[in-house]
């Protein structure tokens, strides 16, 4: 444990660049390998015959949500320290990709991130200026750094049983609540931002915008992913430009 305590800081900092060399082949593998180096050097020393095989394993294919991958990294370092067979270590890495990906994606990409974004939109729309944006940055970055710190330690502590440890931690419950907040805030932001953004617009234009939105919703249903709001907006904007500029 003392080895990891000394290396935990550099490890967590390097995890901030986990996806620095993301590719379709190894995905986060290179980033995991790079983040592992400080701890592996302290564990084995560069001249130890176990060092390079451990580096090779650490830089192999890996993909999980970047904010919770720290759990896998801590666990992998622990099993390396315990001199588990190499194929067992690789199986652990592979086994963790799916669960940590699913948990982290629900916690962050459909939970914390849209929740913070929507709450910031609400705050800005209500006239709070830049402070909701500042709050978004502070809340996200302090919690993600703390989470990485804690998960590296949890992985180191539990090693092969990291999956069980994560499942019995507060994380699954926090993930559920983050999702609820994201749904509530995300949909609450719509009328709040709508009132702020359409403020002062004549009723006739608001009615026209309403008809446009209804049309977009219908097209979205009919076209599926090809009819994203972004594409429909660009289409409508192009039509407006053509109508008023290109056509006499």
């Amino acid at each position: 444990m003392a080895v990891l305590m000394r290396a935990r800081g550099p490890t967590v900092l390097r995890l901030l660049c986990l996806q620095g060399a993301w590719s379709y082949e190894r995905m986060q593998g290179i980033g995991m390998g790079w983040a592992s180096l400080p701890a592996l050097r302290r564990l084995f020393g560069a001249d130890d015959p176990r060092f390079r095989p451990a580096v090779a394993r650490a830089a192999g294919f890996f993909n999980a949500n970047p904010f919770v991958a720290a759990a896998a990294l801590g666990a992998e370092l622990r099993v390396e320290a315990d001199s588990e067979p190499g194929d067992r270590i690789e199986r652990l890495r592979t086994a963790l990709c799916g669960p940590l990906g699913s948990l982290g994606d629900r916690l962050y990409w459909t939970g914390i991130v849209p929740a913070l974004g929507a709450l910031a939109v609400i705050g800005v729309s209500l006239g709070a200026g830049i402070w909701p944006v500042v709050a978004l940055l502070l809340i996200h970055n302090t919690t993600r750094l703390w989470l990485a710190w804690w998960l590296v330690g949890l992985g180191w502590q539990h090693g092969l049983r990291i999956g069980h440890a994560v499942n019995h931690s507060p994380l699954p419950a926090v993930t559920e609540w983050a999702g609820v907040v994201a749904v509530v805030a995300g949909l609450a932001a719509v009328p709040v931002a709508g009132v702020a953004l359409f403020g002062g617009v004549p009723a006739a234009e608001i009615a026209a915008a309403g008809a446009l939105m209804a049309g977009m919703l219908i097209l979205r249903r009919l076209l599926g992913p090809r009819g994203s709001a972004l594409r429909l907006t660009l289409l409508a904007a192009s039509a407006a430009v053509l109508w008023q500029v290109a056509l006499p």
């Binding site: 060399a21 290179i30 390998g33 390079r52 849209p114 939109v121 995300g186 949909l187 719509v190």
Partner: protein, 223 residues
């Protein structure tokens, strides 16, 4: 905005925002509301930054950046949008800025795919050294990836700022076109947020989504 300093600062901000999306930090600096607000502060028009950022953030609420999926990159695009219309009334510039950002965001998102393939090529070349567990090889591939993304972010931001400069230099849109683009942009953003919210609500009780909408209407009514 004839002073060269804001352009340079905007380029630096765009580089930071660009690498924040995936490669370095992922501290939500790349969120469109953050990126555009930062740009607004740099150019001295925080109101425009907040307005453009708000609409783009609504679009971003419909994006789930999971794994190898492809998605637009709104950060540098939002910065370019603010640079293009800063100093104009929000009602007139918002639509132009957002539409520019949406188009740039789609293009910028595609450059991520190119970067990933480039990283893959470099990783394959280093595969023998990586298989031997050479820490130097790991560090070199990592450094290449981060540097390449930084370059990508600079190029994408530079392109956006060049378009912004062109728009500021002589393009004048009819007033009603600018207003119509604003209505279209805001409408699209609201629909994007509704769709994103409903997608997230679909996995849970739909009632939660109804509560959210009702809460929003109540807040909008009260404030």
């Amino acid at each position: 905005m004839t002073d060269p300093m804001p352009w340079a600062l905007l380029l630096v901000w765009g580089a930071v925002v660009g690498v924040d999306l995936v490669s370095v930090l992922q501290g939500l600096l790349s969120r469109p509301l953050v990126a555009a607000t930062g740009a607004g502060l740099i150019v001295g028009d925080p109101a425009m930054g907040l307005a453009i950022g708000t609409v783009l953030e609504l679009f971003a609420l419909d994006v789930v950046p999971i794994g190898a999926s492809r998605y637009p990159e709104f950060g540098p695009a939002g910065i370019a949008a603010v640079a293009a219309v800063a100093g104009t009334p929000v009602a007139g510039g918002l639509g132009v800025g957002v539409v520019l950002a949406l188009a740039l965001g789609v293009f910028s998102g595609r450059t991520m795919h190119v970067l990933r393939r480039l990283n893959g090529a470099v990783t394959r070349r280093a595969a023998p050294a990586l298989a031997r567990g050479e820490p130097g090889a790991v560090a070199r591939v990592q450094l290449f990836g981060v540097t390449a993304d930084l370059l990508r972010a600079v190029l994408v931001t530079g392109l956006g700022l060049a378009l912004a400069w062109l728009l500021r230099s002589g393009v004048t849109l009819p007033g009603d076109l600018a207003r119509n683009l604003g209505l279209i942009a805001v409408s699209g953003g609201l629909i994007a947020a509704v769709h994103g919210g409903l997608q997230r609500a679909a996995g849970r009780a739909f009632r939660i989504g109804v509560v959210g909408l009702a809460a929003g209407v109540a807040v909008a009514w009260l404030f």
